[in-house]
Structure formats: C-alpha cells, structure tokens
C-alpha cells in the first residue's frame, strides 16, 4: 500500500456536454487536479469561491460524476464504486460540512443525528453514540435535544461526532470553521487538532481563510479555476510563495497591525467565466506579471519537487511582487 491514504490523480469534473445536441457550454469545474494526502497529516486546500473546491469534495464522495482521472482511497479507485462499496468507503472517509445550520436535520435529535451513520451501517449502539458526543464535548443531557437548541459551535461539534461515528481515518473538512465566531473557531480547531493526534486522522482541510490554514495544515495546495496552481509544505508556501496568485492571496489577507504597510498586489477583479476560461495560463487575466508566453502556453505544476507552482516566471513573481 502506498504511503497516501487518499490519492487524486488528474481528476476532472466537467458539467454540460459537448456534442451535436448539447448547448456546447462545458464548465470545467475541476480540470486535472492531483492531490495526495498522507496518513495523520493535514492538507490545506485554498481557493476563492467558484474555484472548484466544493465540486472536488463532492466527487470524492461520489455525489458528482467524474469526467476523467481517478480517486484512490487506501489504494482503491472509488470513481466507479457501487453502493455497497460506498458504504465501506464511509468507514474510511467522512465529511464535516461548512454550514452547521444546514448540516443537521432540524427534525432529529442530536442523538439520532450521530446515530444515523451507525444505523446505515447496521450497527447502532447507543453507548457508542454517547461516547462520541462526550468526546467532542457535547454533554449527555443535551443528546435528546434538537439542533435548533444548539449554538453554531456546538452544532459543529455534533457534525464532527457524526463524521467520526464510523471511525474513519480521513476527514474531509469543508470550511469547518468559516461560519463560526472567531473565539469558537479556535475551540473547534483545537478539538480537530486533538482528535487528529489521538486518532491518527488525515485531514483534507478546505478553506479560504489563510490564517486558519496556516494554523492547522502541514501542506497546502492553492486552487484557481479548477486547477492547482501551487502546492508545497506550509512554511515554504507561506514564506516564499512562487505563484503570483498565491502572492496576491497572501497580500490581500488583512493585516493585524494598524498602519502596517499593505502590499500593492492585492487581487483585483473577478475570476474569469469557468465555461470560457482564458487561453494558456488561466490566471493571466489578473496576473500583474503576465507575459506573451502565458497566453500561448499553459504552465504545468512540477510533479517532482515538494514545493512547485504552475507558473513560467516564479522568480519574477518573487522579485516584482515582494512585500513593500
């Protein structure tokens, strides 16, 4: 078995059909993404809205048909898995949703919500549910209440308990703290960190909050318009970003110190239409250092090095976009 618990190879998810009777508009929501997730590690996936993060996650769970590529979970391709295989997959990989308000059925008690995965798997055990709730910090007397009586942070704890019910080794966290207050965010992040070291969990942590990713991730991948434009170990990527998009993202993060200098390369404009992306490098329309070559050719992500960027001019980016 490989060292990776999840290995996504050249994954593409296209919506709309090309063909004589189709509208001809094909949206390449995910287009050639490769990711590797190691046991017990956290991979941060960063990108602005509409870049394909959510589609990528949905395809991991078979909710969206895959156009091309493979997704291997513990060495087994799951892109064409049957329902029984998917049940087994549920014991290996689980998900925590972004919005704790829509993630829990408002008509079920918290106990029932956490019990549901066990019931689907056919091994309901009230004691196990109580232990799960206790582990995430939801007291036993709250178990018979409905989600509407819980705060956002408590709901997210319930969501985590549900995700852990089948003892998975991989958790996909879809912006798990972005809907929460900052003080609650820290509590949830700490809970996630504790659970990770305790249960040897691997996290795929999707977020647009760079500070959070910097806090929790071991490795970071930056996504733009359906592609990964840069990836590398957290510290390398944050201290010496190589792609102009990553630089712009870092530059646009708010600065804590009042009066601190802001860089001039904060990102401007909207991402281009995914149904009609620019030729060559898809970022060139917003890139401050774009050259002729960027419109003609599409830069590839280097596969050999730990830290690589899909850019022809990473050194120019480093020189011209350095923080003021």
């Amino acid at each position: 078995m490989s060292e990776f618990v999840v290995e996504v190879k050249d994954l593409a998810v296209h919506f709309g059909r090309a063909g004589r009777f189709a509208s001809g508009r094909v949206v390449k929501a995910v287009d050639g993404v490769s990711l590797e997730l190691k046991r017990g590690q956290t991979l941060g996936l960063v990108g602005e809205s509409g870049c394909g993060k959510s589609t990528l996650i949905r395809s991991l769970f078979g909710l969206t048909p895959v156009t091309r590529g493979s997704i291997e979970v513990f060495g087994k391709d799951i892109t064409a898995s049957s329902r029984s295989e998917r049940k087994r997959l549920g014991t290996q990989m689980q998900m925590v949703f972004q919005d704790p308000y829509s993630a829990l059925d408002p008509r079920m008690t918290v106990h029932e919500i956490v019990a549901e995965p066990l019931r689907i798997a056919g091994r309901y055990d009230a004691k196990a549910v109580a232990e799960l709730l206790d582990r995430v910090g939801v007291s036993a007397e709250m178990a018979q209440r409905k989600p509407s009586e819980f705060s956002g942070g408590q709901r997210q704890r319930v969501g985590i308990a549900r995700a852990l019910a089948l003892k998975p080794e991989v958790l996909v966290l879809d912006e798990p703290v972005s809907a929460l207050d900052v003080s609650i965010q820290a509590q949830i992040l700490n809970l996630l960190a504790e659970l990770q070291s305790e249960l040897q969990l691997a996290y795929l942590f999707v977020s647009h909050d760079l500070a959070v990713v910097r806090h929790i991730a071991d490795e970071v991948a930056v996504m733009y318009l359906g592609r990964i434009v840069e990836r590398g170990p957290k510290n390398d990527l944050f201290t010496a970003p190589r792609h102009p998009y990553t630089r712009s993202l870092l530059a646009s993060a708010p600065v804590a110190r009042p009066g601190a200098a802001r860089t001039k390369h904060a990102l401007a404009g909207e991402p281009p239409d995914a149904a009609n992306p620019p030729s060559g490098c898809t970022f060139r329309t917003r890139c401050p250092i774009a050259r002729d070559r960027c419109a003609a050719e599409r830069p590839a992500l280097g596969a050999d090095t730990a830290h690589s960027a899909a850019c022809f001019f990473p050194d120019v980016a480093a020189r011209e976009m350095a923080t003021v």
């Binding site: 769970f61 078979g62 909710l63 329902r83 029984s84 998917r86 049940k87 087994r88 997959l89 549920g90 689980q94 998900m95 949703f97 972004q98 919005d99 308000y101 829509s102 993630a103 829990l104 059925d105 408002p106 008509r107 079920m108 919500i113 549901e116 995965p117 689907i120 798997a121 509407s148 549900r162 089948l166």
Partner: protein, 297 residues
C-alpha cells in the same frame, strides 16, 4: 428633544405591531367554532345509530312524510316512503364522511409519493410526473366518472377509486417543492455519502418535513371532497340507493321539495355545517402562515 422622540417611536412601534398581529390570529374564534361544528357532526353520526329505533331502511307508508317533531318516534320526521329521517341522516353522514376520508387518504398517499419522487430525483422522473399531473388537472372528473360508470356501472367503490386518483396533484405539488428545496441541503447529502439509498434518505430526511404540510392540505381537502362527492351522489354516480348519503338524500328529497322540503333541507344543512366547520378550522393554519417547515436558520 427631537432625537429622543425618534428613539421612543422606534422602540415602541414594532411592539405594538406585534401585539396587533398576535390578537388578529389568536383572538379569532372561528377555528374553535369550526372544531365545535365538526365535533358535533361527528358525535351526531356516531351516537344516533346507538339510539333505540334506529333504522335507516325500514319503511312505513302509513307514517310517510311526517314533519319534524310531529312524532316522538321520528324526531326529524319521515321521508316519502316513511323511512326515519334522523336515522337516514346519521347513516348517510357516516357513509359520506367515511368515503371522503378514504378518498383523501388515497390522494394523500398517491400525491406524497409522486411529489417526493419528482422533487427528489428530478430529471425525467420529474418531467413525467409533472406531465401526468397536468393531464390529470385538465381532465373533467365528472365526465370521466360518467364515462367509466356507464361501462362498469356506478358504485361507491368506483367513485372512491376515480376521485382518489384524480385529486392528488395538490399534495404532489407541495411535496415536490419541499423535496426540491431540501435535496441539496447538507443534512440530506450526508447520509448519501454514507451509502444510504434514496429510500432511506427520503423516508428519514424529507418525508418528516412534508408530513405537517400534507396534513393541513388534507384537512382542507376533506371539505372539498365531501362537496364533490355529494354532487356525484346527487347525480346518482356514487353510493347507490337504498343506502343513504347526504348527496343521495338531497336527490330523494328534491322530488318532494315543494310539498315537504325537510328531507332535502336537512342533509343540505348537514353538508353545509361540516364543510363550513372544516373551512373555519383550516383558516387557523392559513392565518398563522404555519408552513410547518420552520426556517432552519
């Protein structure tokens, strides 16, 4: 000075508005009148058959066409062939209400099933079910019933089947809309990520949100169905004589309407009271805007 006044008004206005809104819905007595009407009619059709002398079919031509209160043995009088009006009214009411309930139950099951499938699965299933329901809506039910009844003969069972299969669209529409609005919610996706099938997901996470709305629709519909059914009985397309129904009683009573209006007026009054009672009751739901699917947020 002026700012203070503004603030006071800003604080005061919503509270007054809220109190008014509350009194408008809670203070209404109509729903209680409705419940009282329905309950008394139910008691009537259930208790009268227990009284001594109850017999909706026994004829006594020597005591035909008695006026109400003329004879203690027949408190509401007798019809043209001397059958006890009170007994026939109660027996007819029981049949009428039972049939209305049966029809609404079939509508409910059919409509919820169709609506949930259309809304949850979407695609061709949605298109097909929508098409069927639109064809159904365009169909004149009475003509359909006359056509079928002319082939197989009119009967209560036929009426239940035909009405049961032609009034489900309202339920289907609401169930479909709810299913569509829920199917992409995370709590509906979560079990599917665990390998739960569509049946599990619909039963556990969508049906419970639909049931309260459906019950409200059903309560309102019972009145409508009773009216239609009475009309069909009146036309001779439903329950066959000598079994009494309210619609059938009006048909019989109409023949002697000029000389003795009571046999037609009493069942008419009964239908009126039940339907009005149901309408009053259903006002409670609509007035409070109780779409029971609470906004989750």
């Amino acid at each position: 000075m002026i700012p203070t006044v503004t603030i006071a008004m800003a604080v005061e206005t919503p509270r007054v508005g809220r109190r008014r809104a509350r009194s408008r819905t809670r203070g209404s007595v109509l729903p209680f009148v409705g419940v009282a009407l329905i309950a008394s009619m139910l008691l009537f059709v259930l208790i009268v058959p227990l009284l001594p002398g109850f017999d909706p079919l026994a004829q006594d031509l020597s005591r035909a066409r008695l006026l109400p209160f003329a004879d203690p043995a027949h408190p509401l009088g007798t019809d043209a062939i001397g059958r006890d009006s009170l007994s026939r009214l109660a027996e007819g009411g029981r049949t009428t209400m039972l049939i209305a309930l049966a029809i609404v139950a079939i509508n409910l099951v059919l409509g919820v099933t169709m609506g949930l499938c259309a809304g949850f699965f979407g695609g061709w299933m949605d298109s097909f079910i929508t098409l069927v329901s639109e064809v159904n809506l365009a169909m004149p039910v009475v003509l359909l019933l006359i056509a079928i009844a002319s082939i197989v003969g009119p009967s209560a069972l036929l009426m239940v089947i035909v009405l049961g299969c032609t009034f489900w669209m309202g339920y289907a529409r609401v169930a479909r809309a709810t299913a569509m609005s829920l199917r992409d919610r995370d709590f509906v996706l979560a079990p599917q990520m665990l390998g739960a099938g569509a049946g599990w997901t619909i039963r556990k996470h969508i049906l419970p949100h639909v049931v309260p709305q459906m019950l409200i629709l059903a309560v309102t519909d019972i009145g409508v169905v009773m009216l239609i059914q009475a009309g069909l009985d009146y036309l001779g397309l439903g329950v066959q004589p000598p079994s009494p129904t309210w619609g059938g009683l009006i048909l019989e009573g109409q023949k002697t309407l000029r000389i003795d209006p009571w046999p037609a007026v009493l069942p008419g009054l009964a239908i009126f009271l039940v339907v009005v009672g149901i309408q009053f009751l259903s006002q409670k739901f609509t007035a409070e805007g109780t779409l029971p699917l609470r906004k989750v947020r």
